[in-house]
Symmetry: C2
Subunit: 241 residues, 2 copies
DNA sequence: CGACTGAATATTGTTGACAGTTTACGGCAG
DNA sequence: CTGCCGTAAACTGTCAACAATATTCAGTCG
C-alpha cells in the first residue's frame, strides 16, 4: 500500500467538483447570487449539467472559505457580510497588509521598487483622467504584488480571502472611482516607505491605506469602538520619517 | 420561495458530514493520521459506520482549511508541512499575534489585565516546578485570550488555523517543556506592554514571542532568507519604552 | 377576517451502485 | 535475479434513488 505523500502536482485538476466550485464562486463574485440568497442544489446541478454530489462538495469547500454559509436542513446561503463584519475584515486586512509591508521593507530590491513606481505612474495617469477602468487593473496588481513579494504564500492566500469577502460585502454597492487621487497619493507613500527600507513606516503606510479605503467605502465614522472614531489610524506609532 | 438569510442559529449542527469532519480533524491532530498518509474513504466510512458521501464532503472542507490535500484521482492526503512552510506559518502567526496586541493595547481593560496576570502567575508556578502538563493549559488560554480579546472573530479564526497547522507540523516532534521560564518571561513583557497601552511595544513583544517560540521549536538559524538569520526579531522598531 | 392545522410539495441528507483511473501483483524475457 | 508488461484489484469520481426534514398552501375553526 502506497502511503507516501503525493508529488507536488497541481493541487486540483478539472473535476466536476472544481468546476462547480469555480462556477459558484464566479457567480457569487459576479453578482449572479446575491448575499442571503439560497443556492438550490438541484437547480444548480441541472444548470451545470451535473449531479448534486459535486455541487454539495463544492459548497462545503466554499463554506470553509467563508463565501457561503451552511445551515443544516435548510441549505447553503450566500454569505451575508454585515457592515459590522466588514469592519472586522477591513481591520484584519489592514493588519495583514501592513505586516506585509513590514516584511517587505526588509528585502525589497530595486527592481521591485521600480515596478511599483511604474504601476503608481499608470494609476496617476488614470486618476488624473478620472478613468476608473484604467485605474482598476494596476491598482489590483499593485496591492497583490506588495503581498506576494513577501514570498509568504499563506499571507497572500489569507489576503485574497479577505479581499474576496469584501467583494462579497459591497457587491453592487461599489462606488467606483471615488478618491483615486487620494488613494494613489497613499500608494506613493507606501513606495517611499519601502524605498527607505523602514518597516514601521511601511506598516503604517500600508495599514493606513487600507483604513483610508475603508473610510472611502464605508463612510467616515465607526459605529462601534467609539473611542477610536476615525479608525485606529496608527498615528500613535511615531511621526513619519 | 424563501430566499431570506437564515437566522443566526448554530452554524452547523450534527450531521454525518460534521461528525466525519470532527472525527478526521481529531484523528489528524491526535496523531492517528500521520502527515503524508492517505485517507481511505471507504475504510474510514466503514469505520465511522457511514457512507462515503459525508466523508468526501468533510474532506473538501478540511482541504479548504489546509489540513489535508486533495490530489485528483489519488485521494486525500494528510497535509505535509515542510520546515520551510512551517517557517511561513510562524512568520504569519507572528504578524497576526503582534497585530492582535497592537489592537488590544487600545482597549484592554484592567479586568482583562488582571486575568492575564493571573495566568502568568499560574504558568510561573508550573515553570518553576518544571511541570509542563500544568503549564500547558494556562499557556493555551493566555494566547487564546489575547487574540479573542481583540473582538475580531476573523483574526481569531485565522490564528486558530495557523496554530492547528503548526500542530500538524510538529506532530510527534513536540519538545514539551523546553524553555518554559524563558517563555513566561516573554509573557510578562507582553502584559507589561499592554498595561502600558503601548501598541507598538505590544506588537513587538507578541510578535517577538512567536519568533522566540519558533526558535525554540525549529532551532536557531533560518535556512533561507540569510540576511536575517535569527529571525526578523523586530528590534529595528525602536528600543523598549 | 385572521390564526391554526395538516396534508402535499419541495429540498436537503444519505446511501449504494457504476464508471474511470490508479495502484498492486504476477508472469516473462533478458 | 532484475526489469518490463499486462491483467486484476483497489480506489476515487459521479450518479440516481431513497429517507428525513422543512416549506408551502389549502381548508377549517374561532
Amino acid at each position: 500500500m502506497n502511503n507516501i505523500a503525493p508529488a507536488n502536482g497541481p493541487l486540483q485538476a478539472h473535476s466536476l467538483t472544481n468546476l462547480a466550485q469555480n462556477e459558484i464562486e464566479r457567480m457569487i463574485l459576479g453578482g449572479q447570487f446575491m448575499p442571503g440568497e439560497r443556492i438550490n442544489e438541484n437547480a444548480l446541478a441541472n444548470q451545470l449539467g451535473i449531479s448534486r454530489g459535486p455541487v454539495r462538495e463544492a459548497c462545503r469547500s466554499l463554506s470553509a472559505m467563508g463565501l457561503v454559509q451552511l445551515v443544516p436542513n435548510r441549505g447553503v446561503f450566500i454569505r451575508v457580510i454585515s457592515e459590522e463584519e466588514a469592519r472586522e475584515v477591513y481591520e484584519m486586512r489592514a493588519g495583514i497588509f501592513g505586516y506585509a509591508g513590514m516584511l517587505l521593507a526588509h528585502h525589497i530590491d530595486d527592481t521591485q521598487l521600480a515596478y511599483l513606481k511604474r504601476l503608481v505612474g499608470q494609476m496617476e495617469a488614470a486618476a488624473q483622467a478620472n478613468d476608473f477602468d484604467r485605474y482598476y487593473a494596476p491598482n489590483l496588481t499593485f496591492h497583490d504584488f506588495l503581498v506576494s513579494a513577501t514570498g509568504n504564500q499563506r499571507l497572500l492566500a489569507t489576503y485574497h480571502d479577505l479581499v474576496r469577502q469584501l467583494h462579497l460585502f459591497r457587491s453592487r454597492g461599489l462606488v467606483s472611482g471615488d478618491g483615486m487621487l487620494d488613494s494613489n497619493r497613499e500608494h506613493r507613500d507606501i513606495v517611499a516607505a519601502l524605498e527607505a527600507r523602514n518597516p514601521q513606516r511601511a506598516f503604517k503606510a500600508m495599514a493606513g491605506h487600507v483604513e483610508a479605503g475603508q473610510r472611502r467605502a464605508l463612510g467616515g465614522a465607526a459605529k462601534h469602538s467609539l473611542a477610536t472614531s476615525r479608525g485606529k489610524s496608527f498615528d500613535h506609532l511615531e511621526p513619519y520619517s
